[in-house]
Symmetry: C2
Subunit: 238 residues, 2 copies
Amino acid sequence: MNDRVVPEPERRRRRPTKQGTVLSAEVIVSTALRLLHQHGSEALTVRRLGAALGADPSAIYRYFHSTDDLLLAIADELIGHAQRDWRATGDWQSDLRGIGLCLHAAYQAHPQAALLAAYRTTGRANETRAVETILGILRGAGFPDQEAVAIYHAFVDQGLAFAAQDAAAAALPDAARAADLDVWRRHYARLSPETHPHIAATARLLVTDMRRSGYPLALDLLLAAAADRLGRHLAARP
Amino acid sequence: MNDRVVPEPERRRRRPTKQGTVLSAEVIVSTALRLLHQHGSEALTVRRLGAALGADPSAIYRYFHSTDDLLLAIADELIGHAQRDWRATGDWQSDLRGIGLCLHAAYQAHPQAALLAAYRTTGRANETRAVETILGILRGAGFPDQEAVAIYHAFVDQGLAFAAQDAAAAALPDAARAADLDVWRRHYARLSPETHPHIAATARLLVTDMRRSGYPLALDLLLAAAADRLGRHLAARP
DNA sequence: CTTTTCCGGTCAATGGCGTTGTCATAAGGT
DNA sequence: ACCTTATGACAACGCCATTGACCGGAAAAG
């Protein structure tokens, strides 16, 4: 049912729902984010979303073609959140680091939504703006186009992949999350040096290190290697 | 319904199903993997699995407490697959590259199961063996313990995060996956150079590059930066 | 101010899903 | 050969997303 959805800017007649609320794509997306945040990812069903909005579930299809369409809107909203907190500094490395960390932080703020959204390409406004910004930073730094695109790809995919990974951990039920962390203390930290010398030698370090996200270091390594490549490009073609 | 499931080693009576097949946990897991592989992620439902087995759907619950229990069994099977294809070469960089790519490939072969496996710390035999191997490679290369653990963490998380990311993309319903890829051709490749100069300048490169996984480059960048750090460590303390 | 249009919320129904309570029967130990 | 019980089959429950028909009322036209 394509013709069911009227594009947002052309909407004119807003009729209050039976229970009094006035719907809009924006209201639906933010309510969905609230549902995900409060009750976990199983909570996001059309029926529950309808109930939370005080509307019939099918009313949502007046604003989104399908639940997948809604999901893409949620994904773009998250990207928008990430961009709100970021400012350019002029230095390409710290700019990219800032973008990566902002993205990661925005996704951590809504782990359940991040899990569903991090894997999608929306092509919507916020995503498009982010792509343009990042490509601009890389090309401005002097990366040739092909290299800029390759680094862009690695940078963005890595950021999204870690965001989803850490979101998944955060979104686990409390018991499961605690149990997974405990594996490092209860299992790995007790292995014998005879059978597992390398684990035994580094057990204490592992226990503390694995509590944190691996993203900051992975990001810094990526940026350092990219800088190295840039240096060689600039040396070759001055 | 816990008491419904009898642990596999204690099973004695194997009754053939109405259509003649004899069930077992192993048969169910491999049939599920085949279903996933042949017909995509929507194909794995208890009902379809029952049909594929020539059994009533509810018979599956004699072997697994729930579909999640079944999926964990599938995931466990996958971890074994991941380690079968790798051999040590003696060079730490190509060893790690090989492990990363093998992991990625094994997960890509069964994306739907990979999505569930990538986020968990099991502490079981196969995982433990992998941790020991990777730490051994890093410490053998000369990384000091703290650095070895940090690099280990970044390397493994990166590999798992990308495995899950690319698995998620592959596990999307066909329509959604095609739509996401098309966004690069239909949306980004048509943006005006006036409003989006950097995207417009690199549109052709983006369209081709974004079809592939960003992991190989991200992995190489991580390894290159790690090698650089190692060089500085060895120079400082010969 | 009245009339017409048609957006957009509601209702009811469809076909799918995971899961479970109950029953019947064949396999295995005795 | 008998008895127990494991295990497969059946039917039902309550979810789910999605859709077509309906119609009230707000906006637009006169």
